[in-house]
């Protein structure tokens, strides 16, 4: 569904990603693990087009997308949920969802407020609440729900467990399993190995802008050496 091969990305003069390759298959949950500053967010931004890779290829559903504008990529059914959430604070919950709304597409589940309410019960209670007046956890749910309104076949989820209460982290894990069940492929970035273990099928580990490990979650959990080298704080 999504193949990234050998991309290099820069911020100005700084070489952030060096030769990153990874793959997400249909219906799969893949986690990109790494410490702060390892290049997780930059990888996701390079896929959605907010950072333009200097070289390498990004293929989504059989089409090269690394030179396309973000809105074109999004319209192909690749959703992006930013780490900073970037909720429209002046807009209500329903209006935030409206911004994300796109026509239904084949081979991807279609979402509306009702179905999202089943996934995130908190949102159902506050359709007219302004984005700026929501808690961090509620905003985290809203930002995912907003991206789902685009009826994506695959979503990029940047650190969904960061900075939210433990009870919300559990809800996030529940929601990700729900999305997988609905048939949405997910690439999520994480620092939290425990959280990743709960939701993901496969893992990549990124360090200093390069992929250092690739394997199933079972292989990663069995490999204490890799965990200690790349993920221990």
């Amino acid at each position: 569904m999504l193949q990234i091969s050998k991309i290099h990305s820069y911020y100005g003069q700084a070489h952030i990603l060096t030769d990153v390759s990874l793959e997400v298959n249909a219906g799969e949950v893949v986690v990109l693990l790494g410490r702060n500053g390892a290049g997780k967010s930059t990888t996701l931004k390079s896929i959605i087009g907010l950072v333009r890779p200097a070289s390498g290829a990004v293929v989504f559903a059989g089409t090269r997308i690394e030179r396309l504008a973000p809105y074109r990529i999004a319209r192909m059914g690749l959703g992006y949920v930013p780490e900073e959430r970037r909720i429209f604070t002046d807009l209500s919950v329903l209006e935030n969802l409206e911004v994300g709304r796109q026509p239904p597409r084949a081979r991807a589940p279609t979402w509306d407020f009702e179905k999202l309410g089943a996934l995130f019960p908190n949102l159902r209670e506050m359709p007219d609440r302004l984005g700026g007046r929501m808690s961090g956890g509620e905003q985290q749910m809203l930002t995912i729900a907003r991206t789902l309104m685009g009826n994506p076949a695959c979503i990029l989820l940047d650190e969904p467990s960061e900075g939210v209460a433990p009870v919300i982290v559990d809800q996030m894990a529940e929601a990700i399993r729900g999305l997988k069940a609905a048939g949405v492929a997910i690439l999520l970035s994480e620092q939290n190995l425990h959280f990743a273990m709960e939701v993901a099928d496969r893992a990549y580990i990124i360090e200093k802008g390069g992929i250092r490990f690739e394997g199933t979650m079972q292989a990663l959990s069995a490999n204490a050496e890799v965990q200690a080298q790349y993920l221990a704080v």
Binding site: I48, P70, Y71, P82, D90, L91, G100
Partner: protein, 627 residues
């Protein structure tokens, strides 16, 4: 004041507020979504009046024809706005914001001359609105019926906009993009069409505001800059991007002006004071007060500091041997110039103008580039220097040399006061506050007849005996300009200059390593003001007079154009830009009736072809490796 006069003036204020709101709200919408400060917005307003004139005189005999003309005029201008967006702005959304300003200013020049070519230079007075020619009785006074309709149009447009923004997808997207347009794009919205739509809508509203003015005031070529000035004030007072804010600010400003008219001449504490004279400056006083008290406007919200959002710049370096050599060649040529100049006397006159412009632009560049403070009111310090010197000669009988020496002091004192307020702000707000102070200086010069000679200015300011020959004055100008430019360059390469640039690039970090950013910027502001004052003094004595026109907003904008033309990231940029601009302006203005449009197109070509400025682009050609 009698209640009936008060009531009529209050209604007058409401009618003006409607128009002001229509212009300002479009400007605010466009800024909110595209982050472009659209100088051409006043031009859309002006076009609205002219197009409405043509339509109304053809089909506006009936009430139906009149109102259709109004809407058609706005629609025509909306299409013009759409074309501007598609052809020009779409190419420069990623460019630095000052370049965008420059580009929209070029549009102002082009539209002005296009209007001149189509409708001619005469003021055109439209017919009064059919069916609304009469007046109604308000407490025994007559009030035009048409103005009552106008009063209703403002709130009606506010309601319509509110409906669009909250009840339509287009509106929701506008509001979302105002907050985070990249995120809107990442959610699958094509921003390009959103931007075009908002720009056309803004142009429509401005033109509607203009068209509706037709029965009240003549279509006039100078009205574009007046309108944009007022609209800026309203938008800044209300809060950039806030629509209710624009409405509130339009109401407050229009009413304060109306009340100034209503009070008129009055005696306060034994001093006779004319409030109606205050109207030219009162909106800028309101803006200054609001910006000091609530820098983000009445209904805006505090944004993140934007001053350090600029591109990372290559550090300034002292000139290398080759550049120094080139500098010496230029200097020697300038010293030798009067030798050939005797054959072409005009060369000397033009050269003096160029040198004055160089000093003016270099001092502006000092605070804009390395200081990171985008001043839209640098004419204030030019004017303080010129008027300061002129008044010392005329009122106190000082000799010319002493008065010229005092010019930088006068300008520095002004910069000391204005700068204390200005350096607290950043980005667009800083630009607007500097503009406000410049307008205040301008209107004092314009209004205080007894002291400044009003619109005629101060005349008979001639150089001292030993400088009376043009070449002698040329050498004085050359000496002071070279000294001023070298002083500013030296300061930029000294620790003070490093501190200034550190404060620009990251105020927080600069503060954290012990740099007093506030004082550094403040003193930078004062130094630039002082040097600019010298330019003002030189200008006054070279022309023999100083009038308000020479220190108007036009001069501030000329300075910006010079700096951006030359390239803001190089030390030599403002020198090249000022020389090129002054020479081009002189050349085109003498040869060609439509010199404004020619200048505008030149600016556009330069903006699109040399995004680094002329000097910056030449440097890029020669310096292969960017550090």
């Amino acid at each position: 004041m009698s209640p009936d006069a008060f009531a009529v003036q209050f209604l007058n204020g409401l009618a003006s507020a409607s128009t002001l709101f229509l212009i300002a709200v479009g400007l605010s919408l466009i800024f909110g979504v595209t982050r472009i400060v659209n100088f051409a917005h006043g031009s859309f307003y002006m076009l609205g009046i002219f197009v409405a004139y043509s339509l109304v005189t053809r089909i506006g005999d009936s009430p139906f024809g009149f109102w259709v003309s109004m809407l058609l005029a706005a629609l025509v201008v909306a299409i013009v706005g759409l074309l501007v967006e598609l052809v020009l702005l779409r190419r420069i959304y990623q460019a630095p914001e000052l370049f965008q300003l420059l580009a929209t200013f070029a549009v102002v020049l082009i539209v002005r001359d296009a209007t001149l070519a189509i409708w001619g230079p005469e003021d055109l007075l439209g017919p009064r609105a059919p069916g609304l020619k009469g007046s109604v009785d308000i407490l025994g006074r007559q009030f035009p019926t048409y103005d009552l309709v106008l009063i209703c149009i403002g709130p009606a447009v506010l309601a319509a906009l509110w409906f669009v923004l909250t009840r339509t997808r287009f509106g929701v997207l506008i509001r979302a993009a105002t907050q985070d347009r990249d995120m809107v794009g990442a959610l699958g919205v094509n921003q390009a069409w959103l931007f075009s739509g908002v720009f056309a809508l803004g142009a429509f509203l401005a033109a509607l505001g203009g068209a509706l003015q037709l029965p009240r005031e003549p279509a006039n070529l100078g009205i574009d800059l007046v309108a944009i000035g007022e609209a800026f004030v309203v938008v800044v007072v209300g809060g950039m991007g806030s629509i209710p804010g624009a409405f509130l600010a339009a109401f407050i400003i229009a009413e304060i002006k109306a009340m100034c008219f209503a009070i008129g001449q009055t005696t306060l504490f034994g001093v006779s004071f004319s409030f109606s004279k205050l109207t030219l400056v009162v909106e800028f006083l309101v803006m200054a007060a609001v910006l000091i008290w609530r820098p983000w406007g009445l209904m805006g919200r505090p944004g993140a500091a934007t001053r350090n959002a600029a591109e990372i710049e290559v550090p300034l370096k002292p000139a290398d041997a080759r550049t120094r050599k080139l500098g010496w060649v230029v200097l020697i040529a300038l010293v030798l110039l009067p030798l050939v100049g005797t054959a072409f006397p005009y060369t000397i006159v033009l050269s003096i103008d160029i040198l004055v412009a160089v000093l003016f632009a270099t001092s502006l560049h000092f605070i804009m580039g390395p200081g990171g403070m985008h001043s839209f009111g640098h004419a204030a310090y030019f004017g303080l220097g010129a008027y300061g010197a002129g008044l010392l000669v005329k009122q106190l009988g000082w000799p010319m040399e002493g008065a010229l020496a005092a010019a930088p002091v006068a300008a520095a004192v002004g910069a000391l006061i204005f700068g204390w307020f200005c350096v607290r702000l950043s980005g667009v707000y800083l630009a607007m506050l500097t503009l406000a102070f410049a307008q205040i200086v301008w209107s004092i010069a314009f209004q205080w007849d007894e002291l400044t000679g009003g619109s005629n200015g101060i005349v008979g300011l001639w150089p001292a005996e030993w400088l009376s020959e043009k070449w002698a004055y040329y050498y004085l100008t050359l000496t002071l300009t070279v000294a001023g430019v070298l002083l500013l360059w030296r300061v930029l390469l000294a620790p003070f200059g490093y501190a200034l640039r550190a404060g620009r690039d990251s105020p927080l970090r600069a503060d954290a390593i012990g740099i007093d950013v506030f004082h550094t910027q403040w003193m930078g502001f004062v130094l630039a003001g002082a040097v600019c004052g010298v330019a003002g003094g030189l200008f006054a004595f070279s022309k023999g007079s100083i009038a308000p026109e020479a220190i108007s907003v036009g001069r501030s904008i000329d300075g910006l154009v010079m700096v951006l033309l030359g390239g803001i990231q190089t030390l030599s940029g403002p020198v090249v830009g000022a020389a090129l601009f002054t020479w081009l302006q002189d050349l085109i203005a003498r040869e060609f009736q439509y010199w404004r449009a020619a200048l505008g197109f030149t600016i556009l070509v330069l903006v699109l072809a040399f995004p680094l400025g002329v000097a910056g682009s030449i440097k890029r050609l020669f310096v292969k490796e960017v550090a």
